[in-house]
Amino acid sequence: MSTHEHTPILQVNGLEVYYGAFQAVRNVSFEVKPGEIFGLLGPNGAGKTSTLSAIEGLIRFRSGHITVAGHDVRQKPLYARANMGVQLQSTSFQAELTITEIIRLYAGIYGVNMTAEQILAVLAEIQLADAAGKRYGQLSGGQQQRVSLVIATIHDPSLVLLDEPTTGLDPQSRRQLWERIEAIREKGHGVLLTTHSMEEAESVCDRIAIIDHGTIVAIDTPAELIQRHRHDPEVISASRKGRITLEDVFIGLTGRTIRS
């Protein structure tokens, strides 16, 4: 594990999010440190995306504090956003623009000067140099995800937020994506991600928070979570492979009921 003990890049304290009378996030607190991949896991509707949206400044939260690289997201939203890179769950870029034009657009938005050669080099890194003139709408799902991740990290942010980044990807694309995410960690940046893949979370995340009904029910390293809950009756009954996995712990803590 490459977690460095420094000031957290992301601090979330006592976060509460409401949609009308419905409380989606209840007193959520956690932090992401430099060089750490932090996984936020939970069933559908548990509050993962709401938490991420609050950090990204896309929704107003009722109470709590969030800081990104020391910037309060409510008081200095632009500074906070300048220090985070985001890959949304359903990211879409202008379908009429080529990927070169999209990268140039976001480089400009993030204040990064990039020449045509630099853009081509970035595309070559993700094996899309041949598609430089292709429109975003013409790319496959995996190619779109690669472009999306490049744009999320184009300004070398301290914090990268990834909302279910591997959904719909084939194994090759998924493997390449995880390699890129691990490379971000190696550079000392923090990564906060949500995923439904327990295997991926177990193998890649340094720490994990399991959220359910808007509340964090467990937070620790994957190994510690498994160790701590391996004797829980709900976890044992969830086990299918003869050994306790993170998925068993997840099912044990959040229940077997299918969420909407």
């Binding site: 990204e56 400044g57 896309l58 690289a69 020391g70 632009l78 500074y79 956003r81 300048a82 220090n83 985070m84 985001v86 949304l88 359903s90 990211t91 879409s92 870029f93 202008q94 379908a95 009429e96 623009l97 034009e101 999209i102 140039r104 657009l105 976001y106 480089a107 400009g108 938005i109 993030y110 204040g111 300004h155 070398d156 942010p157 301290s158």
Partner: protein
Amino acid sequence: MKNTIPATAAVYTSLLRADFTTLWRNRRAAILVFLVPVVILISWKGIVDKMGGAFALSMCITIGLTAIGLMGYTISIARDRDKGIFQRLRVAPVPSWTIMASRITVQIAMITALTLLVFIVGANVDKVVLTPAGYIFGLLMALAGGAVYLGLGQMIVGLIKNPEAVNATTRLVYFAFIMIGMFGELGVLGESLKQIVIWSPFGTVKRIVSDSLYPGTWSQHTSMALLVTIGYAIVFTVLGIKWFRWNTK
């Protein structure tokens, strides 16, 4: 490393370049917006003398403004919102107003291009030649009138989230404005409807554009129409901004 926020001018320039590129790639749709007023102007060639140059040009400009505001701007905003394009922009260090300012700048360019095109076709096909003051005033009033339809479009995307419903609604409103506006003003649909049309967004915009083309004809009625036009633009825009949501969920 702590990143600083980029200059607003640089952000705006980047957005503007992307929005103009998008417009260029969708140029067929833009050409269709221009085509309707130009076709009307050409087909009216034989009767322009009877109806007057100001009537013909102002009618065509008003029809074009309605198409730009209701169909071009509104449909593109509804579509991009539904695709999540705005949400992606909003998680970047971009002041939200710059996103809309860039979109509106593109529409202002469209309004300017439409007005100039109508002037050129009017001069070359219908032999309607104005004074320099007429051209300048005409352009300014077209921009003022364009604000009404952009505001109305903003209100529609504020009220309706589904892009297909927005599409259908704007086409319906466009058709109603053109048909009721054109025939209503001529008195074909009755005197009371004629009065409603005269003070409707269609009628006031047409009036200020028409009288600005021949500045000598500007009257107290035109000044009142200008005030009403500004009022429409403010009310529609304020309500449109108030009701607008950046995502469809």
